[in-house]
């Protein structure tokens, strides 16, 4: 890097946020974090809260690992990353239990499962270990948002067609499909609630994204 001071939001830095939303999306392109995309996308509310929690963890784990990057012994770097991620996840869990008890009840096991989210370790290995703290933070925001975006889209589709409702944090379930539809013979698709449907919805998103952006298609 040159010795000139780079502006905080230079074009290069902004790209760190925008590429994970599209061409380098952690779920649809890098196919990381699929596991939680299956588990928490039955309803919209937990998907939104989990997205925020994951973003918190990606940002701060990227920051901490990037600050420590020159001191971490190479042989135990994965363990160091894991300890940092696990500590952050426990912090999220404890804070939710103390200040957002209702939400923490709904998310229950899923908060703990953030530790196993491949995106976090993936970004630490691929980015934070080799970059300065500020770009690492931006990369964390970008990847957290890219992950959350897909999670929310999938949850939206699954909850809408699976139960006819949408649940939002702080508001609760809202019936979106009017009762008239049910009288006309429309039925909720129970398959939407089952895990395979999450994979199929993610698959459809990947398909749509690749057919719009030909560069993403491997030869």
């Amino acid at each position: 890097m040159s010795s000139d001071k780079e502006p905080l939001f230079s074009a290069k830095n902004l790209k760190l946020i925008t590429t994970p939303l599209g061409a380098q999306n952690p779920i649809t392109i890098q196919v990381l974090g699929i596991c939680s995309a299956l588990a928490v996308t039955v309803k919209l509310e937990p998907a939104i809260v989990l997205s925020i929690s994951v973003m918190f963890v990606t940002v701060f784990s990227n920051l901490i690992i990037s600050l420590l990057r020159n001191t971490i012994p190479a042989r135990i770097r994965i363990i160091v990353q894991l300890v940092v991620v696990a500590a952050l996840v426990i912090i999220v869990d404890q804070v939710l239990k103390a200040f957002a008890y209702e939400v923490s009840l709904q998310l229950s096991v899923f908060v703990g499962l953030i530790i196993t989210n491949c995106i976090i370790m993936g970004r630490l290995e691929a980015f934070a270990l080799g970059n300065k703290p500020w770009p690492a933070v931006l990369d964390g925001i970008g990847n957290g948002a890219g992950y959350g975006m897909i999670l929310i889209i999938v949850a939206f589709v699954r909850e809408l067609f699976g139960t006819g409702n949408l649940t939002l944090p702080g508001i609760g379930a809202i019936q979106v499909i009017p009762d008239v539809f049910y009288e006309w013979g429309y039925a909720n698709n129970g398959f939407m609630i089952l895990p395979p449907m999450a994979l199929i919805v993610v698959g459809i998103i990947i398909w749509v994204q690749r057919s719009r952006d030909k560069d993403l298609i491997e030869s």
Partner: protein, 231 residues
């Protein structure tokens, strides 16, 4: 110091673990009072909900005091009052003991219209972890007034639906004892088989193990109150 050497690696790992452990221990300790209070308030809200009193996190304690207050006590298997604070009884530990040694907490509630309700806490096993709940009975100690359930980690959309209003409202009006006065409990059965039966409610399709868990929980926990309820 050699950054790749063994000494450095060991030192680094030890210091990191101690620092992280200290931070987490401090955090857990400082947040514990808040978390315990949240859990207690949530428990009071659940108990109030069974007797159809809506409460929020802010007014749950006042309402609990008003409708229940001191009228909570612990029973033994013979239905007699014994020492102990009903609210602090840990059912998770009690249900592991022998039936005869268990403490059976019960809450007596006086509603605005003067009627008296009994609230009994229950706890059992679901598919992934514990399930629990509260059953409220009318003054006849037989007819169910209301029920609420909670769970640790049942599958969302399937087993977790035991917390849904539609599942819980089925319990109102069901009875614990059959015509001959024998304890019959309330069974959670396959959908569509409960019509007209005073001792059965519809289960959740796709959540069979959780439904059976709720069924067993009611049978196991409520049967311990049999002597008290018959008096």
């Amino acid at each position: 110091m050699d950054r790749q050497g063994n000494t450095y690696t060991f030192l680094y790992a030890s210091i990191m673990v101690i620092v992280v452990a200290a931070i987490l221990a401090f955090l857990a300790q400082s947040l514990k009072p808040l978390q315990d209070k949240n859990a207690a308030v949530a428990k009071k809200m659940d108990i109030l909900k069974t007797i159809q009193i809506e409460s929020t996190a802010s007014d749950a304690e006042a309402k609990f005091e008003k409708y229940i207050g001191e009228n909570a006590y612990v029973l033994n298997i013979d239905g007699q009052k014994q020492e102990g604070e009903a609210f602090t009884v840990d059912l998770a530990k009690e249900i592991k003991k022998d039936k005869a040694d268990q403490a059976y907490p019960i809450y007596e509630c006086q509603l605005d219209d003067g009627s008296k309700k009994y609230v009994i806490p229950v706890r059992g096993k679901g598919l992934w972890g514990p399930v629990w709940g509260y059953v409220s009975l009318n003054e006849d100690k037989n007819t169910v007034f209301g029920a609420t359930f909670g769970h640790k980690g049942e599958t969302p959309g399937l087993g977790a639906e035991i917390t849904a209003e539609n599942f819980q409202k089925q319990f109102a009006g069901k009875q614990l004892f059959d015509k001959n006065g024998a304890f019959a409990s309330i069974a959670v059965v396959k959908q569509g088989q409960s019509a007209g039966d005073l001792h059965k409610v519809d289960g959740i399709s796709g959540g069979t193990i959780t439904s059976v868990g709720v069924s067993d929980m009611l049978q196991d926990c409520l049967s311990g109150y049999e002597k008290f309820l018959k008096n």
